[in-house]
Symmetry: C2
Subunit: 418 residues, 2 copies
C-alpha cells in the first residue's frame, strides 16, 4: 500500500512550530507494510488543502493527515476531506452527546463552535479520542483511504497506537520493511562510503550512509513478507559491515552515547557524579534520560555561581589563579564532584555558553574534565560554534564521548597504584 | 515570490531523523517577502526527486532544497537538478582545488567520490560552505530559481545566513509578513476562539488560534510593503486582543515560561535554587537556557540517589515516614535547596519518570514544591502521561508555571512575619 503524510497548519508551514507528528508516523509505517512516498505540509487554506488531498489520493492509496480538527474557523481538514469526497457532513448525535459530556465532566458547557467536531460524512467514521475534543476521521471509498488525526502529539500518538496502527496491521499486505543502523564515530562520510562500497550493490537490504551529529550511520533496510525473513536478509550484510568498520562502530539502532555509557558503567560497577557550570544540568538530564540510569548516576551539582563551586570543593586559589573558565577549574570540578558525591568517576564542565563573553574568553569556549579512579585525570578544551543551545548540546555530547573513551580503558586497579 | 521547500533524504522521509531545516527556512521566509506555499519531503530516489523538483518549479518561482549534496551514491540532488534543467554537470577546477585543500588541511587525501561535490551546471553557481565539503548550488534560468543547501544544520544555517538570505533580501519585491503571537494560559482553544471572535473577520492582519504545550496562542500576521507599515496594521488588533484576553496572556512571540520567570525574578531581586530527583537536572538546564539566567539562578542539585537527598538536608525521618515519592519529600527538597544554596526561593521535584514504578507509586507520579521567603510553602501532585521524556518535560513546565504564579504574588515581606 502506497501512502502519503500530510501535516496541516499555517504555523507548521511557516516553521513557527516543529512538526513531530509526520516523523512519528513515518517511522512507524514500514513495520506495518505501508510504503511512504511523500510527506507534505499545507497551511490553513481550504483551496490548497482540498487540492493537495485530491492530488495525493490520485497517486497513492492512502493519505494520513494530522491537524486542522480543532473547533475554530481555521480548522478546515473536515471541510477539505468532505469537498474531495463530494459528500455533505452532518452532526452525529452520539458524538455530540459524548462531547457535551466531555466538557460537563470538566465543569464547562460546550462552546457551540465545537459542534463541528461531531461531524461525520457517509463514507467515514469517527475515531475515538479520549485525550481531547477532536475525534479523528477514517474515510474510505473506492479502495482509497483518508485518515485524519488531531495535531496535538499526545492525542495523535494515542489515536495512532490504539486505533489506526492496529487497523492498518490487519490490512498488512504481507510485505514489511525492517532496518538496522550501525553507528560509527571518528571517520568521515566519504571514507565510510569507500570502506563499505563492496556492500553498496546490495538492493535487499538496501544500504544508506548518513552523516549525523553523533557520527556516520550505515543503515540497512530489508523488505520481506515477515520479520524473520527480513532479519535473515540483513544478518550476513550486517556481519560484513561490522567486520569492515570494526571498532569505529559504537552502537546500533536506538543506541545513544548516553545509553551506551550507562551500560558500560553498570557492567563495571562504575558510578558517576557531575559538576556543571555552563551546561546548567543538561549533562545530568541527558544521562538520566536513560531508563535505569539510577544504577550508575549518583547525582549532579549545577554550580552556576562561583561561590557554589568553592563551597562544593573547588579550591578558591585555582579560581583566583586561572579563572572559572579554565581547564584547571574543570579539573577541580570533576575531582570535587567525584569526592563530594563518592562516585568512581566525576565530570566537570565549565565554559562560556553565551551570549556574552566571560573573563575575556570568547563565547563557545568549553573545558571538560574527567576524573576517574582508574586513570589519570584528563581535561580537554574546545571552541564550539556560537548559539547558547548548540554550545550546551555539543559540550554534553563531547563529555559523553570522552567518558566512553575513558570507560573503554576501564581497569579495576586505581591508576595511581599501577 | 512564491516558494516551496523540499527536504531530501530517505531517513527524513521515513522519520528516522527529524527535519529541522525546513522549519528553520520556513520561519525566515516571511521577513524576506517570500510566500511559502508548500513543504515536502522526498527520499533518495532519482525519479521521484526529479519529478518533485520539476512539479514545484511549474507552480512556484523558487524551490529551496536541503540534503542530498554528500559524496555518496545516495546523494542525488545535483543529479536531479541537472536533469530538470536538462544540463550536463562538469567539474569546476577551482572548487576541486579548494576541496582537495580542505581535506589536506585536515591531514587526509580526498576520497575520489567527493569529486562530484565540485560539480556545477551552466545555469548555476556554487555557494561557498566553509563548514563542510559540500558547496550549495544556486541555479537560475527563465525566472525560476533552485537553491540547494547541504543537510547538516550547522552547514545549512551558516549558508542561509551568510549567502542565501542576503541575496533573497536584495530581490525583495516589497511585501513582507510580520507576525505577533500572544500566549495565554488557563483557557481552552474554543473559549479563546469565542472571546476573540469579533477580531476574526480581520484579513490583514489575519488571526489564527493554536493550542500548544504552553497554552493557547493567538497569532496575528500582517502583510505590508515594509516592517513599520506591518506593525501599524497589527497594533490596534493587538491592543483589542490584549483587552479581551487580559490576565490570561502570559507572554508574546519568543517568550517562554522560563524567560518570563527569569525576567520576573530579576526584576524583584529573587534568586532561585533547585533540587531535582526524577527530572534529573532538566529544570536547571531549562532555566539556564535563558541568556542572563546567571542573574537569578544560583544553582541546582540533582539528588538522583536517596543518600544525597539526606546529605543535602532532606530529613531522613521524612523519607522514612513518607517515602521519596511524596509531597512531603518534595517540600523538604525545596526547603533544603533554598537553605543550602542561600536563595530566596527553592523548587523541589520528585516522582517516577519510569519505565518502572517506584515505592509502589505508578509511573508519571510527580510532586513539585515551592519554598519561597514571601509565601507559605506549597506542594502539588500530578500524574502525567507515560513516557520518560514526556514526564520530565511536563514536570519542568509545571514547575515553571507554579513558580510564575508564586512570583505574581511576590512581596518584599517574608510571609511568616506578615
Amino acid at each position: 500500500m502506497k501512502a502519503e503524510i500530510l501535516s496541516i497548519g499555517t504555523e507548521i508551514l511557516l516553521g513557527e512550530i516543529v512538526d513531530t507528528n509526520a516523523q512519528y508516523i513515518a517511522s512507524r509505517l514500514p513495520a506495518l507494510g505501508v510504503d511512504l512516498y511523500f510527506k507534505a505540509v499545507v497551511g490553513d487554506n481550504i483551496d490548497r488543502l482540498t487540492e493537495t488531498i485530491a492530488k495525493a489520493l490520485e497517486r497513492s492509496d492512502m493519505v494520513i493527515c494530522t491537524g486542522g480538527l480543532g473547533p475554530t474557523e481555521d480548522d478546515l481538514t473536515r471541510e477539505a476531506i468532505s469537498a474531495v469526497m463530494g459528500e455533505e457532513p452532518h452532526v452525529d448525535p452520539q458524538l455530540e452527546a459524548d462531547l457535551r459530556g466531555f466538557f460537563e465532566k470538566r465543569g464547562y458547557s460546550m462552546p457551540e463552535r465545537n459542534v463541528k467536531q461531531c461531524w461525520v460524512i457517509p463514507s467515514g467514521r469517527a475515531i475515538p479520542n479520549p485525550r481531547g475534543t477532536a475525534p479523528g476521521w477514517w474515510v474510505e471509498r473506492d479502495g482509497k483511504i483518508v485518515i485524519a488525526m488531531p495535531g496535538p502529539p499526545t492525542e495523535m500518538t494515542r489515536m495512532w497506537e490504539k486505533e489506526v496502527a492496529p487497523e492498518l496491521l490487519r490490512r498488512n499486505p504481507g510485505s514489511i520493511l525492517i532496518t538496522r543502523t550501525l553507528k560509527t564515530a571518528g571517520i568521515g562520510e566519504g571514507t565510510v562510503d569507500e570502506m563499505v562500497s563492496p556492500l553498496l550493490k546490495s538492493t535487499n537490504p538496501s544500504i544508506g550512509i548518513y552523516a549525523r551529529a553523533d557520527g556516520v550511520h550505515v543503515r540497512m533496510a530489508a523488505k520481506a513478507p515477515d520479520e524473520a525473513e527480513a532479519w535473515r536478509l540483513i544478518k550476513p550484510v550486517e556481519e560484513e559491515a561490522r567486520n569492515i568498520l570494526g571498532p569505529a562502530i559504537w552502537g546500533a539502532d536506538d543506541d545513544t552515547f548516553e545509553s551506551i555509557v550507562c551500560d558500560m558503567m553498570k557492567q563495571n560497577g562504575v558510578t558517576l557524579a557531575t559538576m556543571e557550570s555552563c551546561t546548567g544540568g543538561l549533562l545530568a538530564s541527558t544521562i538520566t534520560d536513560v531508563p535505569g540510569s539510577s544504577g550508575c548516576f549518583k547525582g549532579g551539582l549545577v554550580s552556576y555561581q562561583t561561590e557554589l563551586k568553592i563551597e562544593w570543593g573547588v579550591p578558591a586559589e585555582i579560581i583566583e589563579e586561572h579563572g572559572v573558565i579554565s581547564q584547571e577549574c574543570a579539573r577541580a570540578m570533576a575531582a570535587a564532584a567525584r569526592a563530594k558525591l563518592q562516585a568512581s568517576v566525576g565530570i566537570g564542565i565549565t565554559g562560556v555558553a553565551g551570549p556574552d563573553e566571560q573573563e575575556g574568553k570568547p563565547v563557545g569556549t568549553i573545558h571538560i574534565a574527567i576524573d576517574a579512579i582508574w586513570a589519570p585525570p584528563q581535561a580537554m578544551s574546545y571552541t564550539f560554534p556560537q548559539g547558547r543551545g548548540a554550545v550546551k548540546r555539543r559540550a554534553v555530547t563531547t563529555a559523553l564521548v570522552l567518558l566512553r573513551q575513558s570507560l573503554l580503558n576501564y581497569s579495576e586497579e586505581p591508576w595511581a597504584l599501577v
